[in-house]
Amino acid sequence: MSKFITGNHAVAEAVRLSRPGIVAAYPITPQTPIYEKLSETEASGNLEGIMMRMESEHSAMAACISASLTGARTFTATSSQGLALMHEMLHFAAGARTPVVMACVNRTLALPWAFWSDQTDSLSQRDTGWIQLYVENNQEAADSIFQAFRIAETVMLPCMVVLEANFISHFMEPVDFPEPEQVNRFLPAVSLPRRFDVENPGFVGAVVTQKQYRQFRQLSHEAMGLTLETAEEVDREFEAIFGRGYGLIEAVETENADLVLVTSATITSTARLALKRLRAQGIRVGLLKIRLFRPFPTAAVRSVLDPVATIAVIDRNISLGREGIFCSELKAALSNSPVRKRIQGYLAGIGGTDVDDVLIEKIVQDALNRETFSDGPVWMEED
């Protein structure tokens, strides 16, 4: 069934179909419609689980962790300051190996105070041990929720589905929703170990030795490695059932390209349009969309970009004092690549400004005509 729906409501609907036992959340712009929709759904008796209206995001995550340890399927959603407040508990969730699923609606971090799209909030949580999926449109947001539960519950790691403020959260698009039976087939009833069990009490916050700590970190890292395979398998299975697949990355016309443009999230869909126009002009430009950011799909990225000499990366985020974060990650992933690269980072859409096809074409032209590639980013100005 297709619905003309905002990204936030698409996420809420996907969550309802996923049948979590616990939704624990706290409202924050621009995530609030997810909270409200799930709250309404519960109030109307259509949410299978319990909605916990928490007093803070920190508590919301704590509730999710505890519930997950009892074997429940858990979901929360937040943005920006809420995510920052949750930071401590994000480490707990990953360390406790709880497959909590979260929708993170990207929003600028204060100060200055603003409500626009910017990926720095979620990217700041890069090292918390969460799986991160960056989605391109409302359909992918909904589909990624289903996939996220499957992936997380298989590898026992928490997973963040990241959607951008306004461009996804509040923009309406037609979204196809599967029938409940189809969802149940793809995402069966939860079957997680009951690590918290009143019949068999246990404690997970115990102090460990130095060596034990290292061993647990190593296991978590191995689980991240397993996530790469799992996410691919899950996506393939999803595509077989629903006819839509996304991959860990997506390469568009990258073979024999003189330049590959690397993007994430909503900028990708605009880039697809720019790409068509540039190709029509005879410019051999390809596109690489990075969907899975953690674990970073290094092998998949290299299989596409190893032969490519010139790369332009667009970031709607910045690690101040360095450059766009996707750009840094990409450079690191390609450092063992046999073909020498020239990689230029571009900052576009920071603070939620519009990145239209003209701006993207401008970036491609700049990269193609550039004599020297700078180690720092190029700030693109909006019209």
């Binding site: 026992m156 115990a206 102090v207």
Partner: protein, 579 residues
């Protein structure tokens, strides 16, 4: 066939989950300080001349167990019914709850324990068997000594000059404060322990010599029965009598009738008891005239308030110069302004200004300028015993210069309170016993002294209380009552009208007593609330040797954070010194 799970997602391997214990981590190695469980003294107990274990008794009362509460009082004093009515309750003055929402009604609760509890006193030891002791006088000091001597196994012979036991309790305290049946109830617990009781026996010197021969020790507690007389013009006129004699008449079934105006000379408890009694017996006006200024008046505050309520007028700073006469009877008194006074051999010598005079008319005059000790024939020919004045004793043991003879109560120190007399009786009994049986004990009175004394606990001597520092008192600052709900004291109900000699103050109901006892902080006494266990973040506080109400830290796991000490309401758990 199921593929084995990769280890990195095997629920059993991926997180440290403890199903049994985390005791492998000896977090106790991190500590620098350790909590210490030490029960201490409450201010009320330190203030109590009888040494009553008030917090322990009230804890039991708060649970509705008045037998246990009474039993705790009876461990230190045989007169809870008396003290629960007439004590000047220094305990309440010092009560830590005063700084919170009002003092605990300790005196009224002691009375409740006496009324609601039905339990016999317990013996302390039978070591005194075969060591008979005689007690002369059955006032509070004599009764206390006889009672504790009997509890230590001694066959006790109790001698009383009056027909009835009780001494001052029987003869001098008005019945509206201490009714006959209340005294009888306390006596009924004491008398079964006493070997021989002889009333109507006025002991003289030759009998005392016989007693000293026949008994291993003798305790002298004859009180201060002789009223001091005023030797001034008109002091022998009819209509003038000692307040003690008047109070004694007021205790009789045939009460005297008092009409007209009454002047009471004196400012102590006896003066006020006489003044209030006179008012109740019909006096139209009662005036109390004393040497002292208001703030120095020796009477207890409770009686002062009662006197004011009874409409009695006070004249402070006057000394009587002479009495006036009409129709061969007293008609009034002339007072001179008291400019100063000094004490000489226990007598007050005032300096009166004859130029500043005040005359008061009086149909009756009651003189209450103190009671003197007068052994008279009892001291006849016995060196070391004065015919007049206080008996000299060792301040600690209460032994006189005569071997085997001990003395206490008002005979040793006046003015004294009932509670102080009970305390000296207990102390004398204890030292008599210890003197006769020194060899069998490895403890001394020091082990039972409460704070710096003179109060001591005979129970503590015989039953060593572990984890108890009988030298330290818990102050309000040592408590943590901030989690408790404020609850004002139960009101003390007075009988309406305040006429006649029926008991004026009503008892608490059982519910009131339970509720009031529940207000007690139980300062320094563990009641097993187990907040220390509950609040310990490391589950490191446990009952010591499995014994409830003694708690200690686990050596291996206590990090010395002090949460248990902070959580303790009563100042029992505290953080020890740095290690």
């Amino acid at each position: 066939m199921n593929k084995p799970l990769p280890r990195c997602i095997d629920p059993e391997s991926i997180i440290p989950i403890s199903r049994f214990t985390t005791e492998v981590f000896k977090t106790g190695a991190w500590d620098s300080r350790r909590p210490q469980f030490t029960e201490k003294l409450s201010p009320c107990r330190v203030a109590c001349p009888a040494g009553n274990d008030i917090p322990s008794a009230f804890h039991r009362a708060s649970e509705g167990d008045f037998d246990a509460a009474l039993s705790l009082f009876l461990k230190e004093s045989p007169l809870p019914g008396v003290c629960g009515r007439v004590c000047y309750h220094p305990c309440q003055t010092d009560c830590n709850r005063e700084k919170w929402d009002g003092t605990v009604q300790i005196r009224a609760l002691e009375r409740s324990a006496s009324e609601l509890g039905t339990i016999e006193p317990e013996p302390l030891t039978d070591a005194g068997k075969g060591q008979p002791v005689a007690v002369i006088g059955s006032g509070p000091a004599g009764l206390s000594a006889a009672y504790h001597l009997a509890r230590m196994g001694h066959p006790v012979t109790l001698l009383e000059a009056e027909k009835k036991l009780g001494g001052v309790l029987h003869t001098a305290i008005p019945a509206y404060r201490l009714p006959e049946d209340a005294l009888d109830k306390d006596l009924s617990r004491i008398l079964p322990l006493i070997d021989t009781v002889r009333t109507g026996v006025d002991v003289n010197a030759s009998m005392l010599r016989d007693l000293l021969n026949d008994f291993r020790s003798v305790f002298l507690a004859v009180g201060a029965a002789r009223s001091r007389r005023l030797e001034i013009p008109g002091s022998r006129l009819p209509g003038i009598e000692s307040a003690v004699a008047f109070l004694r008449r007021a205790r009789k079934k045939q009460q005297p009738s008092i009409q007209g105006s009454v002047v009471v000379v004196g400012g102590g408890d006896v003066a006020l008891d006489a003044a209030i009694s006179a008012r109740r017996l019909g006096a139209e006006s009662v005036e109390v005239v004393c040497l002292e200024q208001e703030e120095d008046m020796p009477a207890s505050d409770i009686l002062k308030q009662d006197a004011q309520k009874a409409g009695i007028r006070f004249h402070f700073g006057w000394g009587v110069l002479r009495f006036t006469e009409r129709n061969h009877r007293v008609s009034g008194a002339v007072f001179g302004r008291c400019t100063s006074f000094c004490m000489e051999q226990g007598e007050i010598i005032p300096a009166l200004d004859k130029d500043e005079c005040m005359e008061r008319p009086a149909d009756h005059v009651m003189v209450a300028i103190g009671e003197a000790v007068h052994l008279g024939p009892l001291a006849d020919g016995i060196a070391d015993l004065p015919e007049h004045g206080h008996v000299q004793t060792d301040p600690v043991t209460l032994a006189t210069g005569i071997p085997g003879l001990y003395a206490g109560g008002d005979a040793v120190k006046t003015p004294g309170s009932v509670a102080e007399a009970i305390g000296t009786g207990k102390r004398a009994a204890f030292h008599i016993h210890l003197n006769l049986n020194a060899a069998i004990y490895d403890r001394s009175v020091e082990d039972a002294l409460l704070a710096d004394g003179p109060g001591f606990s005979i129970e503590a001597f015989f039953r060593n209380r572990s984890h108890w520092d009988h030298k330290r008192m818990v102050r309000f600052e040592d408590l943590n009552p901030f989690c408790l709900i404020s609850h004002p004291p139960e009101p003390i109900q007075h009988r309406a009208g305040a006429k006649g000699f029926e008991e004026e103050i009503r008892s608490f109901s059982r519910d009131q007593a339970v509720s009031e006892a529940g207000r007690c902080f139980y300062c320094g006494t563990c009641i097993g609330c187990e907040r220390c266990i509950l609040f310990c973040p490391d589950l490191s506080i446990h009952p010591v040797n499995g014994e409830r109400r003694i708690y200690g830290p686990s050596e291996d796991y206590c990090k010395g954070c002090g949460t248990c000490a902070a959580a303790c309401i009563r100042g029992v758990m505290e953080l020890g010194e740095s290690r």
